[in-house]
């Protein structure tokens, strides 16, 4: 019985770990940033599951609340903002004093 439990747990562990890794891989490699953010929220939720599995309910609660409830929306908001800006192209004119800046990309 105990052994069976262990096997079931081990299988669950494996599944969880595989899901985590797959999600991470997908969200980092998908060309669509929006999709990546959605996957990130999923990743957070699965992570919360992992915390529960590791008997860390406090962390699980925090992860679920912060990871899915705050970080995700943060990313989405940022994405929206960037999108809107890129549509409007350059909203403001920065040509003045342009040369006064140090070249941004330069090491």
């Amino acid at each position: 019985m105990v052994a069976e439990m262990t096997y079931i747990m081990a299988g669950f562990d494996m599944l969880l770990v595989a899901t985590l890794l797959w999600l991470a891989w997908r969200l980092l490699s998908t060309p669509d940033i929006f999709k990546a953010v959605v996957l990130f929220i999923c990743f957070g939720l699965v992570m919360a599951l992992a915390w529960v599995r590791l008997r860390a309910p406090d962390v699980a609660l925090a992860e679920a609340a912060i990871g899915a409830g705050i970080t995700g929306p943060l990313f989405l908001a940022a994405l929206r903002r960037m999108e809107r800006l890129s549509k409007e192209e350059r909203r403001l004119d920065f040509e003045e004093d342009r040369d006064a800046d140090h070249s941004p990309g330069k090491v």
Binding site: D101, H102, S103, P104, G105, V107
Partner: protein
């Protein structure tokens, strides 16, 4: 039942600026008036700590009353107090300068709202950063160090982006990502340590840490993380744009103080906590990177066309000296090398912040910082020009500056440990430094025939004198070397046994 423990002074350098930060956030308009008071209070508390150290020796302070493995311990000993003194001195100078800086800019008719906003956010951010720096130097708990480091870097990033220039924001986000990466690498190292020993306290780790596989890996991860934050060549790429594009007081903070924090930790980790786990090869590796930093930073500084970038690259170069100390410390007595490192850090903090302040003052007055067009500054900013020159003397390592003492100690350590090649690097570095210092000083001090001052601003003492005072301190530091070196020996565990000076 008021029981005020004398030991509790140790938290004051952390709590004072912390409280000041919150206060400045809540009541916006008090910043300019109250900031010098807060800075002064912090400085006084540091002086009291110093006195306590001299009277009673090193101390531990258990926060919450919980002893080491469970709670968080603060500890103050010679090196920590000297670093605190560094933040105190530089911090007061920067605070005063920042007052002058912002009031000067607000007085200018252009974009008043923006300058006011910058000032109002500057004060709480800077105070928070100061508190975190002090916490960093005092903490003796590896996880607590992570939190303080994050505080430092988030505050530093916010400050770096404060100027609102696009370039500064690009630099800031790069800085944020790099320092976040550094923190994570450090945290991973902490995880390895916790996995191996189940302990977070530095002193306890020092007692039990051996050459276990986990220790080495942890040390490597921690080192990489801290090196990223310290901007050792070739991980320095983020530093020059971030430091050069920030507001002048911010540049002074970043270059003078922030990079020292992570370096201090690195040195402490290597030579106090994990002295059993380090290998000669790794030490030499760091030394080589340091040598690379000295030369590369100096060469880049020589090529720059803009004053602030030049000064920023010189920071890269000067940080290299600190790493030359690593291979030397292994064979030579640690005392000398600790002395060199602390001296270098203190002198550089004063000199570099003075330099950035001077550069900022010049920028404010003439509206640009193109080196080739700086002719004649001495005519109407004599104190600033002199401050820059004196700070330059420090970077060149000429006597009687603190930089000279540091270089002397490094050189003599390199000879005594039969590794004279590091000495050669130090010498070449100072010569290169004199080239890039000279480039600017020469421009500042020429007053060509028929030179007229284009635009006369009202004299601002707060813009000129803090920089000058800091530069002077860095210069005179060399004459009072025995005192810091004496303080250094108090309670730094590896140091006490080594007899100072003399031939081997």
């Amino acid at each position: 039942m008021l029981i005020f423990d004398a030991d509790a002074w140790i938290i004051c350098p952390i709590v004072f600026p912390l409280a000041a930060s919150i206060f400045f956030f809540l009541s916006r308009r008090t910043g300019p008036v109250a900031a010098p008071v807060a800075a002064l209070a912090t400085g006084v508390s540091i002086i009291i700590l110093l006195r306590q150290l001299l009277l009673f020796g090193p101390r531990h302070y258990y926060i919450g009353g919980w002893q080491a493995p469970l709670g968080i311990t603060l500890r103050f000993d010679g090196p920590a107090v000297l670093m605190l003194a560094m933040t105190g001195l530089t911090g007061i100078g920067i605070t005063l300068y920042a007052r002058g800086y912002f009031s000067f800019r607000i007085a200018a008719p252009k974009r008043v709202g923006r300058h006011e906003r910058q000032e109002r956010f500057f004060w709480p951010l800077w105070m928070m950063l100061w508190a975190a720096m002090n916490g960093l130097f005092l903490s003796s708990d590896i996880f607590n160090l992570y939190v303080t480091m994050e505080l430092v870097s988030i505050a530093a990033v916010a400050l770096a982006a404060l100027s609102g220039k696009p370039a500064s924001q690009i630099a800031a986000i790069r800085y944020l990502l790099v320092s976040f990466l550094g923190s994570l690498s450090y945290l991973l190292g902490v995880v390895f340590l916790y996995k191996t020993y189940g302990i977070l306290d530095l002193d306890m780790l020092q007692d039990i840490a051996g050459a276990a596989p986990g220790t080495r890996v942890a040390l490597a991860l921690i080192t990489i993380g801290l090196l990223l934050k310290t901007a050792l060549f070739p991980m320095h790429f983020w530093l020059p744009p971030a430091h050069a594009n920030a507001l002048a007081p911010v540049s002074a903070i970043l270059s003078g103080l922030v990079v020292k924090g992570s370096f201090y930790l690195l040195f402490r980790f290597w030579f106090e906590v994990f002295s059993g786990a380090i290998s000669i090869g790794a030490l030499n590796m760091l030394g080589i990177l340091g040598a690379g930093a000295i030369l590369w930073g100096a060469l880049q500084a020589m090529r720059q066309q803009r004053l602030k970038l030049l000064v920023a690259y010189s920071t890269v170069s000067q940080l290299g000296y600190l790493f030359i100390a690593f291979p030397l410390a292994s064979l030579e007595g640690n005392m000398k090398v600790w002395g060199a490192v602390i001296f270098m850090a203190m002198a550089h903090a004063c000199a570099k912040s003075a330099m950035f302040m001077a550069a900022g003052t010049i920028y404010l007055h003439i509206g640009h910082d193109r080196i080739n067009e700086l002719v004649g500054i001495r005519a109407y900013l004599p104190v600033t020009a002199l401050a820059y020159a004196i700070a330059g003397v420090n970077l060149m390592g000429l006597p009687p500056s603190g930089g000279f003492i540091a270089k002397w100690l490094l050189l003599s350590a390199s000879f005594n440990s039969m590794q004279w090649w590091w000495g050669v690097v130090v010498m070449v570095g100072s010569l290169l430094a004199s080239v890039y210092v000279y480039r600017v000083v020469c421009q500042l001090f020429i007053i060509p025939e028929g030179y007229t001052i284009k635009k006369q601003y009202p004299r601002s003492h707060l813009l000129e004198w803090p920089a000058f005072t800091l530069a002077l301190i860095s210069l005179l530091l060399g004459l009072f070397a025995p005192y810091p070196l004496h303080i250094l020996t108090i309670g730094s565990s590896n140091v006490a046994t080594i007899i100072p000076g003399g031939p081997p």
